[in-house]
């Protein structure tokens, strides 16, 4: 190889390299241009864009709200677990003085945190008040209710509680011990059902978002058909043609996510007071859950991703159909 040739080859290699890096910069520039251009196109038709975003937002709000509610139900569950109690019903022949002694005996148990004696008369009064059946029951000559002791265990785990229940049953004067756990168990089942329901709804409404974005992007592709044909004629790759539509899909998704976020926040505010009042009437502290930073990020990220995916599917299907004449 002559010196001349070597020099030529080197120059060739160098120009190849600068060409690659300048191509890369050109490519980055095109991404930036398409990102802004697709945003500008959305802004040019504000009503249509907003309607699409609103449809996405509505599809996102329901599963997001359900998910939030379930999340807070888990917290509530933990709190309820701490307040788990047992009720020891005393034998019907135990009189009031004996009941006090039994109560003391139960309180002395090492696994018991606190006890509260409910005498037969108190139990009757509570029962009547709860049911509002004063007349019917007051006509009964004899009080049929036994005295009872409400026991708060030190360790509220289900195993410890059931062991304690067995031990308390052996105490003289105690006829029967009831665990107030059954309804807690039922609540957990309900929560599990709710989780599955949320998942199913999430998938369904996620598909809905895909369809909404897909349909909007399909119309956009149709309206820019001539442009697509021309750029294909002069050497555009599928990726190039797809790019602006993917960006508009992502913008729709992001916009829908932001609107959903707004709806959830406003809706939360609106419901906060009645929910707090309701909870208070049950003697519970419960405030409506709010989207924290993490939840907001997840919502926006997944809505953007769904928009992108919907656009991808729609463009992919249509590019196959469009062939330059």
């Amino acid at each position: 190889m002559s010196r001349q040739e070597v020099r030529e080859t080197r120059r060739g290699a160098r120009s190849q390299r600068t060409r690659t890096s300048s191509r890369l910069r050109g490519w980055g520039h095109h991404h930036r241009a398409m990102c802004l251009d697709s945003a500008r196109r959305l802004i040019r038709y504000p009503v249509g864009s907003l309607l699409t975003m609103l449809a996405i937002a509505i599809a996102l709000v329901l599963p997001a709200a359900l998910w939030l509610t379930l999340d807070s139900a888990r917290l509530l569950d933990a709190e309820l677990n701490e307040s788990a109690t047992l009720t020891a019903y005393l034998a019907s022949d135990v009189d009031e003085a004996q009941a006090v002694r039994v109560n003391e005996a139960l309180q002395a148990h090492s696994a018991v945190a606190a006890t509260r004696l409910i005498t037969a008369a108190e139990g009757m009064a509570e029962f009547q008040q709860a049911l509002g059946l004063t007349d019917a029951l007051s006509r009964l000559d004899d009080n049929p209710l036994p005295a009872s002791v409400v026991v708060t265990p030190r360790d509220a785990s289900p195993e410890a509680v059931s062991v304690l229940a067995g031990e308390l049953e052996a105490v003289t004067g105690v006829a029967d011990v009831r665990l107030d756990l059954a309804w807690l168990e039922r609540l957990r089942r309900l929560a599990e059902l709710g989780q599955r329901l949320t998942l199913a709804l999430g998938v369904l409404f996620g598909l809905g978002v895909l369809l909404i974005v897909g349909n909007t992007v399909r119309l956009a592709v149709e309206s820019r058909r001539q442009e697509i044909e021309v750029v294909t004629l002069i050497g555009a790759t599928h990726a190039f043609v797809r790019r602006p539509f993917l960006y508009s899909g992502a913008w729709y998704g992001l916009g829908g996510g932001l609107l959903a976020w707004g709806l959830l926040t406003v809706g939360g505010e609106w419901l906060a007071t009645p929910v707090a009042t309701l909870a208070e009437s049950y003697g519970a502290r419960y405030s409506l859950p709010r989207l924290d930073a993490m939840g907001s990020a997840v919502l926006l990220f997944s809505s953007t991703l769904l928009g992108l995916l919907g656009a991808w599917i729609a463009v992919g299907r249509h590019l196959a159909e469009i062939r330059p004449r």
Binding site: G26, L233, A236
Partner: protein, 222 residues
């Protein structure tokens, strides 16, 4: 540069638009393609652009059998040839400048470098002063020149034109042909489909004549 080897093209499996076409075009040549309406001129050019694939035979461009190009390679192949369409195929919502810059945008050429090349191409066709105009604001002849600027902005080795003077007056047609000759003079291989026989005769280049899908004459440049 271009070689057709016993090429046949059928549309819909029955109608034969081209039959047994066999010719070669050397690098740097300028060739006219002529024939009556429906003779197959556009079909032949579409085969070179790889908008269609031959039903029979092979089409070679720069030594590559382009019928066998993979779909993913086709865009990159098309970037190497400049095409002028009879109906311009301009984008009417973009300025003249943006239309001419389109091939460079597709290839990811940096904006600064692209601007230099776009201006050079517009200058060549005499429309530099209209770069901010929209295609609608130009006359038919000017629009055709924008199409030519777009076809050459990438300095292609092969330039194809399908009826570039389709409905222009004789003077404009001559100007457009002059442009193609200029590009041919700097080494570009040029193939122009046209049925403007008077103009073709005057320009003294090689002429390929089609009739009902067959190559009936190949007249070397006088």
């Amino acid at each position: 540069m271009i070689a057709f080897e016993h090429v046949g093209k059928r549309y819909g499996g029955r109608f034969e638009a081209l039959a047994n076409i066999d010719f070669r075009v050397r690098r740097g040549e300028m060739v006219f393609l002529t024939g009556h309406s429906g003779a197959g001129k556009s079909s032949l050019l579409r085969l070179i652009m790889r908008l269609e694939r031959p039903s029979r035979g092979r089409v070679l461009v720069a030594g590559h059998d382009i019928g066998r190009l993979h779909a993913s390679q086709v865009p990159f192949y098309r970037r190497q040839i400049g095409v002028v369409f009879q109906d311009h195929q301009l984008l009417f919502d973009r300025t003249i400048y943006a239309n001419v810059a389109l091939p460079l945008e597709i290839q990811g050429v940096e904006p600064r470098e692209a601007a230099r090349r776009v201006r050079a191409a517009l200058d060549k066709v005499g429309l530099l002063h209209r770069e901010k105009a929209l295609p609608i604001e130009l006359s038919g002849g000017e629009q055709q020149r924008v199409g030519i600027a777009r076809a050459v902005v990438n300095k292609p080795a092969l330039l194809l034109a399908d009826e570039p003077t389709g409905n222009l007056d004789p003077q404009l047609s001559a100007d457009i042909m002059q442009l193609f000759e200029d590009f041919n003079r700097i080494g570009t291989t040029v193939m122009v489909a046209s049925h403007d026989l008077a103009l073709i005769a005057r320009l003294r280049h090689r002429v390929l004549r089609l009739r009902e899908g067959r190559l009936v004459a190949d007249e070397e440049a006088a």
